[in-house]
Symmetry: C2
Subunit: 268 residues, 2 copies
């Protein structure tokens, strides 16, 4: 099994059908999908396109944003996301949990995430979907993800049957406790995502991702640690980068494949 | 004793004499100096200007950058920084330890920092200066500071007599283990610096600092935890912000003073 998965956000302008066609042309067997382009293509239609192409869906991005003081609308949206994941045939829903609310109460926001995940995990289990909590780089703590470390995500995941974690190289590489937490995660790792950290950080910090090998992360070392847990799932290349988004899809997919095979695969 | 200290970087264009005059006009009793403007004014002259104005020097920024594979030049520069701190009459040298080297070996870089601090601590002690290790927000891990958490800085500081830590709100506010590590730090806190985290992060991430109260950090809570350790030193307002740097010095110092008195001081 070829474990490279193309996360659709790497070719952000592409539709589901263009993404799937690109994977097929480059011999990539799995794809990570996002809800917005799936909705644009239609959920049932997207599921059929992927199925007909014989691709695995490695994950659906994304549920989450559960830190508001009133979470009811967010909970409903997450229930829909769980259903969408199941309809697409993936068991992994990536959860970006949300940032600090206007009250600046970070501890409260983190508690609301834990409470919401407890509630949603029951429905995830019923649907055969794992909620994959994504610890996010602390640069996103204010506006995207109050789970800042793998340890925090595991503290929640370990309490529930259908909750796991995402190890995204960009988000976790700096963590002084990373090796120990990856070992602790073990079979809780629901998704492993790779890209690289670019220095200097570009004007939009969200887009500070590069091809594996172009930045400061020791991906060989990280991949060896993830592999040592027994993780045998797909490995998504997920890159948010304005230049890569502007480039030709085939050129990007080709480069993704080359970097994966030269930098990530040898460490498995 | 009024504990507000104006960190000189908040009015970056100002010379030492302009900074000191501004503090005097606004009744601020302490100042945090930087080596470059001190060198521009002359070390002995800067020391005299501060002394004649009756100001305390709360800290000197900055030593550090100790992660290169060959640290000899950096060690020499840090020895000079220790002497400069002593000459300026401050016992606190802020240490920004440096980023990852080209070999991407983060663990090795962190070890080199620990080794260099062990060596420099002897000279710091002889000079009556504390090396104040500044854990830096992980967004700066690649290029400025591989100490990413207060826990890491304390792991080093606790091994040496003349080594402490800086608690800079911007760098530590996101840390899930913050309360426990501040309590652990106790008398190792050599400097407490405040500003706020702005969202969205501006084009230059280094300049993503705002006046206390303008961002996402619960400074009341953080200040209470720092105060609970018994920390009784100066509290520096240190803001890197392009708009604030472009503004009139007196306007900025006035706003710094108002924010300190309304947001930070009540929590002491």
């Amino acid at each position: 099994m070829a474990r490279l998965s193309l996360n659709q956000a790497t070719i952000k302008r592409a539709s589901v059908v263009e993404t799937v066609d690109g994977c097929a042309r480059h011999g990539i067997e799995a794809v990570g999908l996002w809800r917005e382009p799936v909705a644009d293509q239609g959920l049932a239609r997207s599921a059929k396109i992927v199925r007909d192409a014989g691709l695995r869906v490695s994950s659906l991005c994304r549920g989450g944003f559960l830190t508001a003081l009133d979470n009811r609308a967010a909970l409903d949206d997450n229930r829909r996301a769980i259903e969408e994941a199941a309809a697409l045939g993936t068991d992994t829903l990536v959860m970006v949990v949300g940032g600090v609310a206007g009250d600046k109460d970070l501890i409260g926001a983190r508690q609301r995430v834990a409470d919401a995940i407890a509630e949603l995990s029951v429905e995830a289990k019923a649907a055969g979907v794992v909620l994959a909590l994504e610890p996010m780089h602390p640069v996103f703590c204010a506006d995207r993800g109050v789970l800042s470390t793998l340890a925090q995500a595991l503290d929640i995941a370990e309490k529930h049957e259908s909750v796991g974690v995402v190890v995204d190289a960009l988000h976790v590489w700096w963590d002084p406790d990373l090796d120990a937490q990856i070992a602790r995660a073990g079979s809780s790792i629901a998704s492993y995502q790779v890209c690289d950290w670019l220095t200097p950080v570009p004007a939009d910090v969200l887009l500070g991702r590069g091809y594996p090998g172009d930045g400061d992360i020791d991906l060989d070392r990280l991949t060896r640690h993830v592999a040592a847990t027994g993780y045998s799932g797909d490995i998504e290349v997920e890159i948010f980068n304005a230049d890569i988004w502007a480039a030709d899809f085939d050129e990007v997919i080709g480069e993704v494949s080359r970097r994966y095979h030269s930098i990530v695969e040898p460490a498995l």
